[in-house]
Symmetry: D3
Subunit: 240 residues, 6 copies
């Protein structure tokens, strides 16, 4: 088996995390997983959605979008279609759940964090890149809140990152790009904490069903890749 | 640990599959997983969506809905809100992917199967009940197509069923009802073929992250439950 | 003249009213007029719409829907079309007006009753079945409110029921099914109180205009049918 | 009983029908029922909706709107709300059904007539004024089609007009204005052909239910008013 | 060069301003620029949009619409399409900005003025007719507010009017009608105050780019036309 | 007068045009006017909108968007609001008209060019930056079409660029940033061809009306700035 990119089965794409990418947001990161590029911003607003009012806790919500020509063929702009598609909603729900797992909402105060992940170039794995990059932007946003005196305690419980794995030509491979993703028999997205617990495991057979042992092989591969991603997040956050 | 329903950890709720539940659809099944009740219909229309035209193959698409008072508190009707929510879209995409795995689209001819799963009473596990029930309605719809001479070959590749498992009070339990679902630490939906391969595995940590060994314990529990569900589907389809 | 169903011109279809059909709603009735089957639920919520706030009176509002394959040909789901059609809005406005006539809103307190009528199988007369069945669910919902101490006085003024009549092959017939409805020259829906007063009279010439004497013949037929329906409502409510 | 306007119970408001009111439409009439003023245009387009294609017959469809400040309090523009309300849809369906009864669609050819009724000032009875005025515009539009050679036969079967009647302070009165309409116990809209047959009869009890004899008294009153309206339509059409 | 209408290059169409055109609105004017006819109403409501609350100042907002058959070909009703088009939004934003320039919002109190401009017949220049006519309705609405004691000071700073100019067959012409507008090389809309200052200048090359000297020639022509329009507004307001 | 940025009145911000910014689009440019950053892509699709079919000419259409946190305060995503706002539609109509002026549509063949301008960071002047940057992406897209043999003739008639000018503290200044824009008395956007003709001139008085001589001073300033922008476009296009 030879991957289209020439990568080893266990090899991530080149990962780049550029902090302070835009100037207005409390946290702003350009994350690149190879040719997949996503701008992740985290915005802080005081107040919480109605269902949480008066409970003394905060909230985090996520939105996801793609520029129309982030993809090989132009896709219609959701704003002009008048609604977000099912794929978009599914991904933004996943990003939101994943990042909420990083926080202790009770320590956030009655504030809402808006996470926006906008794909400016897509080459597979946009949701996993989004989660991994937005996590770094989230840490920056919390730091901005501390600086402004908006936090009494640190709400950060743990770091979260995500990666995709799949069965490509019969073998498990890490961090699928678009060519692999289109041809993979199975596609698995794994969201994990830095302590090694799973937040989300979403596997889909695109062609043939997958077997328990294949699932375990993919999960092992994902865990190794995720440990690399946690290291890269750490490096990015330590560099000013 | 004691389950609110008094069931054993490995015990499914009472499952009922009532075929020919309504008279117009080519396949129509009322599926009950305990107090969860879903009407699943499969409708046959000639023609396929534009992206498939002229390729000589068929398509299957699914829609999911809930009556406003299927739930403990009334939820607003999506038709009057003017759009389907993210949860609805996510579930109907899952149902569609799962049932497409049961079919060889090349043998379906240029026909589209519309699967409609409408929850009339919800008590947890509506998506897994929907897949399991709609699979039976799908077999009936294919039989109706054969009778009318709309099929030259049998497009059915394999049966598909789905069940949820979770970690409840520290222990893996099968087929969560609403009370368990609300309190579960982890929730896993498994869609499998009768041959034992996975179509979808979707696990979500609601509270604490889950560990690989917990995932494996839940998957084993799911597989046992799914074998029971395949047997119940078989019995339902053999009875006229 | 022979009716497709073989019924006499003055004969209702088999009417069934199944109370407590689903478990969550304060009132829940499955109403069947022959093959027409509608789930009617009544949900109680405290508070009233803005235009009534602070006036010490209650409100009742109705919504109507059809499962996509309730009909001979699948109809597109209104939730996925993004809006309710004109026919749906017209019917739910009629159901709401009809049932409000049964109540003294001043005795309801600042509560809102949501009536949901969802057609699971259609064979003509879905709006009249909805009103007749929802009336029974409404009585159950009021009983639930009394039990919970939400009512100081009884808001029920009178029972309401509805039936369709039409001119079929030149003769007035009661309670049209789909085959008759499609072929009828005139279609009249009558909503009446148990005391014999009219709430709504809606007659439409589908082909030839109708004459005053035909209108009177149809109204007489409707009144007889409605007295039977009031008796059936009473029986249903007296049985536990 | 004294009517707010001082009219006799059997007296219509001042009715005016101004033909050729705007210059672009094939038929264009300003209809006034007292202070209620509606611009009715009929536009001819070749082709028919999909469900009628290839059947060699025509179609007529109607739309209804109100300028935001046609009413005492400004109402929100439906175009900016993003949808037409239930009342609007109900009225435009009624106008369409009523005017289709005037035509033999088989003689219209594969053409569609768009009837637009836009209320520029409202004072009760906008739907009956719309039908009565649009009927005149429809005759003008047919004449324009004949002139252009678009018609081989005359599709006009009969004239149609509409009026409201009601029970006001216990007595039947003709052609309710806004003050009466708001206070009426019962409101009845009658659409009739010039030959005296009913097209639509829609009666609604706003307060107390109404009795069969009241219905008959109202219908008699309506018929007298409608004969006057047919005469006024005739006069308008005979004057150039 | 000969204008289709035979007008001189510097000649406005026949302008008519009919005040008190409809009875409900605080200000209501029918404005006619030749065959272009627009109903302009101004409605007064107490309260302001959220972004202005508590600042002691008022607001003015405008909406624009066209009856479907105001134009040569019927255009689809925006209310039934479910949204206002880009052209509509652009025009109503222009009307709003233009009329806000006439007022000192600080003297309006916390009131909102809703300006509605509805085109009942279009023949070019609907936006300039709307601004010119709505300005007169606005003066009437302020008078109504004074009468009711809703104003302590006069918020009117200056009169505003608008006209279009263009390059038609190489020459600048004033107040384009539809025929000219369709054929013009350049189209310029000018909104001015009675003191001669510009509020808006919007020029668009439809074919060839335009030169600074052409712009200046058009602006001069516009200014002359606008002085005539201010005189006509004055006359209309002085006549009761 | 001192500009907040310290620039001279006649000084543009630092302008950067980065070609081939993303990899999928036929033309892709990141344009920066100081801190305003817009990704401009041009996508080529065969076929034209219905109103142009069979006329042997092409079309160009533009869409504009802003990432939610491109601005100082997060703005709601238009895709999740369900519609594009008036400002967005106004800007994208302006971009489309401006760029169409650069092309001879008859030489484009039956192809459609989609221009997407997405603001990733906003600091004033996003519409003028979009036009200036998208013009460069358009040239690249035409080159890609030539390479693929999609063009027989060169459709490029002329280069187009845009800049804003304004009256800030009484003096005309070039290329307003956000701080100036918010405080400017007048704001003028000028779209020009490289030959010096105007395509669009849109001036708006934000506070006091502006005088003809001020307009002329602003136009002169704009022309000088535009000549610089044309030079920068040329340099960018000559560099590979």
């Amino acid at each position: 088996m030879k991957r289209p990119s020439g990568r080893a089965a266990t090899e991530l794409r080149a990962i780049r995390l550029t902090r302070h990418y835009t100037k207005h947001a409390e946290g702003s990161v350009l994350v690149e997983f190879g040719d997949t590029k996503v701008i992740c911003t985290v915005s802080v607003e005081s107040g919480v959605p109605r269902f949480l009012k008066g409970q003394g806790q905060g909230w985090l919500t996520a939105e996801y979008g793609m520029l129309p020509r982030a993809t090989g063929e132009r896709t219609q702009r959701e704003a002009s279609r008048g609604k977000q598609g099912g794929r978009t909603l599914e991904i933004q729900r996943l990003i939101g759940r994943s990042l909420r797992a990083a926080l202790d909402m009770g320590k956030l105060g009655e504030n809402t964090l808006y996470v926006d992940c906008d794909v400016i170039q897509a080459d597979g794995g946009t949701r996993t890149a989004s989660i991994t990059g937005a996590m770094v932007a989230l840490v920056d946003a919390l730091a901005a809140m501390k600086k402004r005196g908006q936090l009494k305690q640190d709400p950060l419980k743990q770091m979260v990152a995500a990666v995709s794995v799949g069965i490509y030509q019969g073998e498990p491979v890490l961090d699928l790009d678009y060519l692999e993703d289109s041809a993979a028999e199975t596609d698995l997205n794994v969201v994990m904490t830095s302590a090694g617990g799973f937040i989300e495991v979403q596997g889909t057979a695109e062609g043939e069903p997958f077997q328990p042992e294949e699932l375990n092989a993919m999960l092992a591969l994902a865990r190794d890749g995720l440990h690399e991603l946690f290291a890269l997040q750490r490096v990015a956050l330590e560099t000013e």
